[in-house]
């Protein structure tokens, strides 16, 4: 019973919006993890006699055209919709942080080449780039995540380069050099860990955009494929029901995407401010 009074002052120091957003994200994470326990039905179980049903005690959020329970699909879909952006950002971070550090550490022509390369990729519309990759290697969630990871990498690289350039002029880096430590060891062992807070804060800000991009690809038919209950795919599948007067199949996943994206943005901006990421 001593834990709650200890936590309350910490919570009260944060803006209400941030607390609400964090609660929403925590709830979504719990829902995703506990989906098999919380979902009243299997996500792909059909009931043709309950097609496009509205909200009821049997189906709290209604059903889609095949009579699949929207709440169950939403809960299972949270797994794909929340995990995929994490993988995407991990790919983007691996490539982007490496390139950014490389450019900042070496400077000179290496910096010029890496910077121009990221400028070119930055200027190319990300979604178009991803669609081109999918056209070559085929659609699906894995391709979409990897392709979007590549598309996000220049953004991360540019950010990493800028913060790394400020970091490598600090005196501790010169001190390690004087001690005869190699550039690779200083860079990976000391500079990179010092950038971690800042880069992670930046990635949190990017999470909402990553989720939205993946949902867009699934909506366009390039990402997750049925019978997956990915939220973007659910919006696409629910769209046809709108002309029949059934809004829930598109509305439920659409609202879920909007709520999670806004929540991540609110928490991300707050975290970035705290971590000194935003400039």
């Amino acid at each position: 019973m001593t834990a709650l009074p200890a936590v309350l002052p910490a919570v009260s120091r944060r803006p209400a919006g941030v607390v609400a957003a964090a609660v929403v994200l925590a709830a979504m994470a719990v829902a995703a993890i506990a989906a098999p326990l919380l979902a009243p039905y299997e996500p792909d179980a059909i009931d043709l006699s309950a097609s496009l049903a509205g909200t009821s005690g049997t189906h709290l959020l209604g059903t889609d055209a095949s009579g699949q329970d929207l709440l169950s699909r939403l809960l299972y879909g949270a797994r794909t919709s929340l995990v995929a952006p994490v993988v995407l950002l991990a790919v983007a971070a691996m490539i982007g942080v490496s390139l950014g550090l490389l450019a900042a550490w070496h400077g000179g022509w290496v910096d010029t080449v890496v910077s121009r390369l990221t400028d070119v990729m930055y200027a190319f519309p990300g979604l178009l780039f991803v669609v081109l990759i999918i056209a070559v290697f085929g659609g699906g969630m894995t391709t979409s995540v990897l392709a979007l990871g590549l598309a996000f990498a220049p953004t991360v690289a540019k950010y990493t380069r800028s913060v790394a350039r400020a970091e490598i002029v600090k005196s501790y880096v010169d001190a390690y050099r004087v001690q005869g430590m190699g550039g690779f060891r200083i860079c990976c062992g000391y500079v990179a860990p010092n950038l971690a807070r800042s880069v992670v804060g930046y990635l949190v800000v990017l999470f909402g955009e990553a989720l939205m991009s993946l949902a867009t690809l699934s909506y366009l038919g390039f990402g997750a494929q049925p019978p997956s209950s990915d939220w973007g795919l659910m919006v696409q599948q629910g769209q046809a029901s709108i002309v029949l007067g059934a809004l829930l199949p598109a509305l439920v996943p659409g609202v879920a995407i909007a709520v999670v994206v806004v929540s991540f943005n609110v928490v991300g901006v707050w975290a970035a401010d705290r971590l000194g990421t935003r400039r």
Binding site: G54, T55, L61, Q237, A240, S241, L247
Partner: protein, 537 residues
Amino acid sequence: MKLIPALGVLALVSACAGAPSGARTTDPATLTLTDLTPKAAAPVERVNWLVESEPDTLDLDTQGGAPASTVVSNICERLLQVQPDMTIKPWLARSTANPDPKTLVLTLRDDVKFHDGSPMTADDVLFSLKRHADPANEQSDEFGRVASIDQTGPLEITVRFTQPDALFTQALAGDAGLVYNREQVEAAGKDFGTPGSGDACSGPFTLSSWKSGDSITIKRHDAYRGEKPLAGEVVFRWASDSALVNALATGAADGVFVDSLATATAFEGKQGVDRYFGPSTAALVLIPTERGGLKDPKIRTALSLALDRQGISDAGFGGLAQPWATPVGSGAWGYAKEAFAAAQKDLTDAPARPTDADLVRAKQLVHEATHKPSGPIVIGTDSKQGRTVMANAARDALRRIGLDAEIKTVPTPKYSEFYGEAAARKDIDLLVADWYISKSDPIGLYDNAISGSSNNWVGFADPQYDQAVQEALSTLDDSRRAALVIDVQRRYTQAAVWISVAQVPNTLLIDHELTGPPASMAYLYSPWAAALGKKAS
């Protein structure tokens, strides 16, 4: 605190956001199929009509499809013509005769003029038929039994066959019977049928303009020999799904023959737009493929027994599709309608809703099957709502009889490739499909299952079936052929070569003030807009 009203609005929307109760589905048993809409009483200056997409070409020898046919059927005429009740009658050919079973003589009308004023000659007809028969063109398969086509008189064409072909006269009422002005087609060359080229035809409307990406306009041909159209001009634009619904609901469009039954469902009980349902040859089917998961007829029959056809119709097609035991709609009954209707009722392996006894029998068939699937049965579809429901229902049926199944969904352009390319189907066992035939004769569907047919994907092989089909195709007498076709149908459905799901009515949505077109699928092959006009005031 602004969150509370927002949540309140969301809750209200959520509470009301299911499909309106009782307004979403139609009982197929009460669905009345009509051949014609009421006759129009007054002219109309301009009508805005929708097709689902912009045609790639108006040259149906190059590429067919409903959007192009919807336009061309008003501009061009055929040697024979499909009537609203799906029977056929001579048209540009004044009469047809069979002096012997292997010879067809067409006597041509002498009063037909093309839109440029030149008369239709036997040479134009000969040119047109040979153009359709070109192996590079869409209609060439209709000429498979044709040995020769010759001009045998000033207004006479004689077609000789290697063996009798009961379907050929049917084909002449379709795209294989289109008659073009030879001079104009040759002058246009490869540009024929593209925006900017003329129409080279003789129908009640002329092609006025085709603004690529915007619209196609046809105008009344005042010099037409027959009854003049009531509509001055018809402007075609393209839209589908919600755009189509909005265009009709707001009056931006006056009518459409719809491709998606969901669109028709949206107008149930709505004022301002009338709905008509007519006979069609189209049917929803599940087509087993070369991959072999449904190679065994017992597995296919088991799936047919376990499928919830009524559920598919209600959930995927607003109750407008009718559970059906054969893979071709009643619009194909261009003759011997009563015999075909009676035969349909005798088929028991395609229940509307599976009973417990059906499921027991289905499981027994799976148990007895000699070629059981080695892995999950893969069902191929695109993400269209109706087809998604069919795929889900097929997977559910397979699971209920103890077979594993999964769904492979592809984008619609790739889905279209499933129909034409074996390589595209290599990863699926079962295609969720809709299929229609251009002829008012069920044998036009059943000949797809003979050995070696390009549409016999599953490799069904039965010499007795092949012989029965050949005999039916060679029988020119309608009543005798009907008996033979019913026998072929029995063999086909027993083997469940394709798994029939439902027949799909032809659906016309039209502004309440307008009337006249056929409600049946005949619109694809006859000048439906010629009868389009205003209702009596």
